[in-house]
Amino acid sequence: MTAALRPSAAACPGCAIGVPEAPEVVKDARIMLSLPTIHCSGCISKVEKALNEHPGVHEARVNLTLKRVSVEADVAVTADALVGTLAGAGFEAHELDADTIAATETDKAGRALLMRLAVAGFASMNVMLLSVAVWSGAEGVTRDMFHWISAVIALPTIAFSAQPFFINAWSALKVRALNMDVPITLAIILALVTSLYETANSGHHAYFDAALTLTFFLLAGRYLDHRTRAIAKSAAEELAALEVPRAIRLDDGAEVEVRVAELRVGDHILVRPGGRMPVDGVVTQGTSEVDRSLLTGETVPLFAGPDTAVSAGEVNLTGPLTIRATAVGEDTSLHRMADLVAVAESGRARYTPLADSAAKLYAPGVHILSALSFAGWYLYTFDLRTSLNIAAAVLIITCPCALGLAVPAVTTAASGRLFRRGMLIKDGTALERLAQVDTVVFDKTGTLTQGTPELTNLGDHSRRDLQVALALAEASSHPLATALALAARDARIKPADLTDLTEVPGYGIEGLLKDRKVRLGRASWVGAKAGQMTSTYLHIDGNDPACFTFADRLRDGAEDTVRALIKDGKQVILMSGDTTPAVEGLAERLGITQWVAEALPGDKAARIAALTDKGAKVLMVGDGLNDTAALAAADVSMSPASALDAARVASDIVLLGKTLAPIPEALTTARKSTRRISENFRIATVYNVIAVPIAIAGLATPLAAALAMSLSSITVSLNALRLR
């Protein structure tokens, strides 16, 4: 995460000089911080204590469930100062963009659903108690009174609590379609109408309790479903909020830190080494190298000097650059990629969720069965009241109470399990799609590799060359230099004594070794011929240049993951925008036989589309902007948390940790949960097969309906919980 690395506004005293103090505003500022490491009551009180002692803070409140703290403080207090305070207390903290988070804070829909659930639960329990009296043999006036009281409780409750079903059913009927909510609505309404009619005529059976219990159980399923999605959504939004987008704008030479949203075309923006380009632009001043790996998958940094065009998302490596913005916000190449995604988004659209396909079979069946039993009984007895009663009983008994719980109960349990393993399931049907996967496509840079290089030919160099190279490399923060220094230090090399060390941004580092000029850097700069591999060159005056080659460092768990997937019989493909030797080398290292190099973003998506056309179910794992279209085209997609926002948005599952290890387990869990879902459907069907003949025979009493409904719902939920 970049948030912690951002230069702090308050900690830089130079910036404050000359800038007029902002006028004191009475209104407090609200700061949100993410605290990924807190886990106990001790942490809560330590964090709150540390923050409350910070000058200017009025109130700090930790939310352990979301692992966040929200702070009310004076406007002068900055998030960076608070992050520093917490670091002093031993807690890792990152600033969250309050605007992005605000949307999730008050989960209005969730609350409304919980409210309906509570009202339905309250009413169904009261009516159930009244019904117990009727079932145990209340007669005549007493029974009628109990029925009337039940009606008084049930009618307003149904009108309030069952609204979500009515609305869904109505919107389905408007487009002449059937969904699960149509039989539900019909059952509830028919049950209420016949019960009211029976009550008015002092009948024996009233189904008020059944209608309410049905609403209660179905709402419970909906609430579970909503919670799973809300948790995933808030975690995904938190990832987005972690990247507080700020840039340094040069206003007549003065550096001003502004939000990226405020940048305009023509602004001059300073990008420090290590910073990411906030907008598309042209370099006006400075030379450096830029890392385009997130956009294209290339690992070799490219030179950038005056008049070089740069795109948003590229990382500046060595020297400070001043760029003039040519496109901002929605117009940047980063955002234009979204169009590609919209075109490619077919994998998801093709998929019919299990619940929907069940509903398609189920809804017409229920209606036909109920209508047939009504017609049959009417022809047999010519008694409208009896036949309506039986039709209502059939609808209530067959009503997809257990079916409504079958999918959400399992997805909630499975997503909870995977969340604890560091995986965020963003899409409700992602698990079902994941279970079918037989082909796994990996991106290279940033996915299988960490995007940080590793020296590969340390042994090929003389000790003296290494000593000189180490001394030069330690003067730079360029990723290749850092990797070289790390490898040399590990081999216990001591740096040579150099003088006049200077870094030439965009080219390399040079110095003097006892009056001989030494250089470490680009091939053209030191007078060497550039090779195919990622490499840097050392030139000692009078000698031939020496070449240091690098390979990408593997991500944790990459080897194990690939091996486990191949062993599991999956087809594993490597697709990268990087050069052929780099991709081939990695494929050999990991034992991947199929690989594609130098693939453009469109190529990747097209290849995945070709695979799916052949009938393969593709899981795409990628992190870069060049993967976004491919992520959207695949049947199911995953991206690491370090991926660009666009890639994370396009994928169904986000890997929260640094390792790829949970992938094979996720596939197993997905298969298990799909099996549980179909088991649940089978359980619900078995209940129906037993109960429906009883209902059609006219033997179903309200007691039998209540028992069947509760038993099937509880069995289904318990079966889902076995997944934990």
Binding site: S41, I44, L64, A118, N126
Partner: protein, 52 residues
Amino acid sequence: MDVLIYLIPASLFLGCIGLLAFVYTMRSNQYDDPDGNSQRILSDEWDDQPKP
């Protein structure tokens, strides 16, 4: 069975109190942080004097 005339309204009234209590707890954000609340009760920080 005339006692039912008092008992049923009484029981419904009591049930309504429970429902209203639930509505109150929901309105005052008491379900926002279930993990935190289960941990906070174990903290002895404010045992001797109430939180100012």
